[in-house]
């Protein structure tokens, strides 16, 4: 069935801190972002989410001149003329709390690992993860489920036509727990295990629990299929949020099923764009896409590679009473470009956890917020790598997945005072290898594109190709065994205007090649024998066509993993020098 072409689509993105309204219209046959409005999110029992949405819409209407709201309230729908009304609304949100979840499975390296990775990719608080060993004492497991009172239980285990007996024992544990738990706190069970047990599950558990049976999360050993489970969990999360977040149900009623949690839609965008890029540049095998969001409430990292996608959503701030906070503070202190005591870092981290909307006023606060952003990226990337073995960023470029572009959002990046600061956060946080392009999603469009793409699949492609996203620059990160100060790469630059020059890159340096935004250039890359730049193996170079971003081309030859001097003064001096190399 041919899709109806919508002329104006309104995207509402309700985050924990900010609510954004984005208007997409068709111009010259292509979707483009007309404008965005932003307002603080109105969240809490005595508030309605619609208050923040209205404020964001007022801003959008004023900025764009497009009439969206009726004078008496409500949206002008459908669009009846250019600049008047909208045809559809898409909504994404991360305003709700994490949902308490328990994963029940069998082997630690099989189904449980898949369940754990899945839980880490959703807005879930994993309060328990139990496997075969825990089944030895089924009675204790019944007690544990009663004590934990999860909202959702994910039961996984047994490949297709695989193990049945242990899963049956889990069924008995759940049957008893389900029968004993009062109706108000009975969890929803999502079964994503051996399909041959579906009838048993229905017969035994349907009378005591709300049940969803979905395809096996691990149909074969080592092969994961997380998408159906993600879809089921997403529905459950939204159902609970609609009960808990005042105003959400009114807003979702404005959409025609174009509603989703922020992380889910963020991941959908990644998957969709990965398919699109692969389709357009099919000659590049192993080409992936990476998207990161440093939001006020959470850190999200999502990667797609060769048809696989993975995501991790972590809280932006740690529990302030956590014992791990010291380790966090030490890392943040390491990356601060201004002198800060551990005490000051601790105070910053805690105050930020209590008041996540607070913005840095002083240079010291800015330095701390950017250092904390590096930590968040490093931690999330490490977690993603732990959950999905195919994901690795800072291994050798020849072995690592080739993630291009890297799409980044979050106020600490998009509102950084200079593009160089945003680039440094991304380089230090992700420490990519090989060649990639850093793109800033200044209006936090990735989630809404995931939702809007459901109605109009071409919309995300058109918008990504437009100026709604900012090209920060191409990054070349050679990995070399050469010692510091040795030449590892020669770059011959031929800019479209006819200007040519050559640059020798030495190990341990960070260098910027100025290629103005939008201007094309061809780079001839000649690595030394000990250097890998991502052209399949060490010493192999090649030609690369680039379009200049805000920072042109950045060559990050500082080595992987990055090593910082131990002494405070030298370390800060080093960090400042790197920042200056990118224009400060």
């Amino acid at each position: 069935m041919q899709q109806e072409i919508l002329s104006a689509l309104l995207g509402l993105d309700i985050g924990r801190i900010n609510t954004r309204a984005s208007l997409f219209v068709i111009s010259e046959g292509k979707y483009r972002l007309l404008d965005c409005g932003i307002s603080p999110t109105s969240l809490g029992p005595e508030l309605h989410l619609g208050t923040g949405v209205n404020a964001a819409l007022q801003v959008l209407q004023q900025k764009s001149g497009h009439v969206i709201m009726k004078a008496e309230g409500g949206l002008v729908m459908p669009a009846t003329a250019v600049g008047l009304g909208i045809d559809q609304v898409a909504l994404t949100t991360s305003a709700g709390p994490r949902i308490r979840a328990v994963v029940l499975g069998l082997s630690e390296h099989g189904s449980l690992r898949a369940g754990y990775a899945l839980a880490g990719s959703m807005m879930l608080a994993l309060v328990g993860c139990f496997g075969l060993a825990d089944l030895a004492d089924g009675s204790s497991m019944v007690d544990a489920l009663i004590r934990l009172r999860p909202d959702v239980v994910l039961l996984v285990g047994g490949e297709d036509a695989g193990a049945e007996a242990p899963v049956r024992r889990w069924i008995e544990v759940l049957r008893l727990a389900g029968a004993l738990l009062p109706i108000q706190v009975k969890p929803t069970l999502i079964y994503a295990g051996n399909p041959s047990l579906e009838n048993d599950i229905r017969r035994r558990l349907e009378p005591v629990l709300s049940l969803h049976i979905i395809p096996n999360i691990q149909p074969l050993i080592g092969e994961w299929d997380l998408v159906p489970a993600k879809n089921a969990l997403e529905k459950e999360i939204l159902r609970i949020w609609e009960d808990q977040v005042p105003g959400l149900v009114d807003l979702t009623n404005l959409t025609q099923n174009l509603t989703g949690s922020n992380g889910f839609m963020f991941n959908r965008s990644t998957r969709y764009l990965n398919r699109t890029f692969k389709g357009s540049q099919g000659e590049l095998n192993g080409r992936g896409i990476l998207a990161v969001d440093l939001g006020g409430g959470s850190t999200t990292i999502s990667a797609g590679l060769d048809g696989q996608t993975g995501m991790v959503i972590e809280d932006a701030c740690m529990d302030i009473a956590s014992e791990q906070i010291d380790a966090l503070c030490k890392t943040v202190q390491q990356w601060a470009v201004t002198p800060v005591t551990l005490q000051e870092v601790r105070q910053y981290v805690i105050e930020q956890a209590l008041h996540p909307a607070v913005v840095p006023e002083t240079i010291k606060a800015l330095s701390l917020s950017q250092a904390a952003a590096r930590y968040r990226l490093q931690h999330a990337a490490k977690q993603l790598s732990g959950n999905y073995p195919w994901f690795t960023l800072n291994d050798s470029p020849a072995r690592a997945g080739h993630f291009e572009p890297v799409i980044a959002s979050g106020a600490v990046l998009t509102q950084a005072p200079t593009p160089g600061q945003a680039m440094m956060i991304l380089l230090d946080g992700l420490q990519p290898c090989g060649i990639t392009t850093m793109v800033l999603d200044q209006n936090h469009l990735m989630p809404i594109l995931g939702a809007a793409g459901e109605a109009q699949p071409v919309l995300p492609v058109h918008v990504l190709a437009s100026d709604a996203f900012v090209n920060l620059g191409t990054v070349i990160s050679p990995v070399s065994q050469a010692s510091a100060g040795k030449d590892i790469l020669t770059v011959q630059v031929a800019v479209d205007d006819g200007k040519t020059y050559s640059v020798d890159i030495t190990q341990g340096t960070l260098r910027r090649l100025v290629i103005p935004p939008g201007v094309s250039a061809v780079l001839e890359l000649k690595p030394s024998r000990q250097t890998d730049i991502g052209f399949n193996r060490m010493g192999v170079g090649g030609s690369l066509k680039v379009t200049g971003g805000l920072l042109g081309v950045v060559i990050d030859a500082r080595g992987r993993p990055l090593r910082l001097p131990d002494a405070d003064e030298s370390r800060m001096e080093q960090l400042r020098r790197w920042l200056w190399a990118l224009g400060g």
């Binding site: 307002s39 603080p40 999110t41 109105s42 969240l43 809490g44 029992p45 005595e46 508030l47 208050t51 923040g52 709390p97 089924g138 009675s139 204790s140 019944v142 007690d143 009663i146 004590r147 009172r149 008995e172 008893l176 029968a179 004993l180 738990l181 009062p182 109706i183 108000q184 706190v185 808990q244 977040v245 302030i320 009473a321 014992e323 005490q343 000051e344 601790r346 105070q347 981290v349 805690i350 105050e351 209590l354 008041h355 909307a357 607070v358 913005v359 840095p360 006023e361 002083t362 240079i363 606060a365 800015l366 509102q415 005072p417 200079t418």
Partner: protein
């Protein structure tokens, strides 16, 4: 511009709903006076599962063993009660190993719930029950002074309020607690030493209300047996006069502390209430409110972190701060008369 609201009132009508997540038994009646530790409602969920393998105990096949059960599902049993009996030349009995309820019989096994998980909601404040919510809980009401904080250790308590000397000056020393009395609720300025928290417990105090706390003392404060709430934030900073005035007015009176929260989704903040204060009640706001001119605010960042003032005027265009960020901001008149420019996002409404 929305901002978080911290309630700080000399007199206001205070209502708090205490509600179970499951149906249970309400233990209070309308008009009852309650104390923070009083249980308002409770529910019990069977737990402590004991599995009795009847097949093994009776040395019978599964089906035959099940046929020997002499009890019904849901039966309450006492330790030693017969669960199953097999008649024959020599009668064999299986007895309940503990008191409990028979919750499952399947495949030759009987499961006894020998314990219960108790879910309770406590009053968390001093007040009067104004409404009973049948099977779930109650609404508690009082008119009093209210001081909310940014962090609490989750405990509740009550005591006679004692505002320690030097609330606004420097950091609190353990010596300041020398003369405090057992059961008092202490209000202090900036706590930077573990010895202060330890002394509070040693002296048998009912809890602590601190303007600020050293960040590294959070784990210790969290584990303390008495409630601790932090009003303004962590690390060094100045105490505000408005809070001090409310605390001083309540000194010597019985106050209560509920150190739970903050929780955006329940609107719960850690708070201290001095009940039964007379006067014209002030209006309250929700968890968030709109910043307006003339409003009292607390500054959450920068050089003036923790200071309290009044919004004097909004900047017409974004202001460039030292960080290089250009932000919507307001001029805030501090208690000492100075005026400072603060990003709107870095303000918390006090009401």
């Amino acid at each position: 511009m929305f901002a978080d609201v911290m309630r700080l009132a000399s007199v206001m009508d205070i209502q708090r709903t205490r509600r179970l997540s499951v149906t249970g038994c309400v233990l209070v009646s309308e008009g009852d006076q309650v104390h923070p530790e009083d249980v308002i409602a409770e529910a019990a969920i069977s737990s402590g599962m004991l599995v009795i393998d009847l097949s093994l105990a009776l040395s019978l096949p599964l089906e035959e063993a099940e046929a020997c059960i002499v009890r019904e599902l849901g039966d309450e049993l006492e330790e030693g009660d017969v669960v199953a009996q097999c008649d024959g030349t020599i009668s064999r009995l299986v007895r309940a190993p503990a008191d409990g309820r028979l919750v499952d019989i399947r495949e030759g096994r009987a499961t006894l719930a020998a314990g219960e998980t108790l879910i309770q909601v406590k009053a968390g404040m001093l007040g009067r029950i104004s409404e009973v919510i049948p099977e779930f809980g109650a609404v508690i009401q009082t008119q009093g002074s209210l001081v909310q904080g940014v962090w609490g250790n989750g405990k509740v308590g009550e005591g006679v309020l004692n505002v320690l000397a030097g609330y606004q000056e420097g950091s609190l020393e353990a010596a300041a607690l020398e003369d405090v009395e057992n059961g008092q609720l202490l209000a202090g300025g900036v706590c930077l030493h573990a010895a202060v928290l330890e002394a509070c417990v040693e002296k048998g105090c009912a809890g602590m209300i601190l303007n600020r706390l050293a960040p590294e003392l959070i784990p210790l404060a969290k584990d303390l047996s008495v409630p601790v709430i932090v009003l303004s934030g962590f690390g060094r900073g100045l105490a505000d006069k408005r809070t001090l005035d409310i605390l001083t007015a309540g000194s010597g009176k019985t106050a209560c502390v509920n150190a739970s929260g903050p929780d955006l989704f329940t609107s719960q903040r850690p708070e201290m209430i001095i009940p039964e204060v007379e006067g014209e009640p002030e209006d309250g706001l929700g968890f968030q409110g709109v910043i307006t001119i003339g409003q009292d605010v607390r500054i959450l960042s920068g050089e003036y972190i923790g200071r309290v003032g009044t919004v004097a005027v909004f900047a017409k265009s974004p202001v460039r701060f030292e960080s290089g960020l250009e932000l919507l901001s307001a001029a805030v008149q501090l208690e000492d008369g100075d005026s400072v420019s603060v990003p709107l996002q870095n303000l918390m409404i006090l009401r």
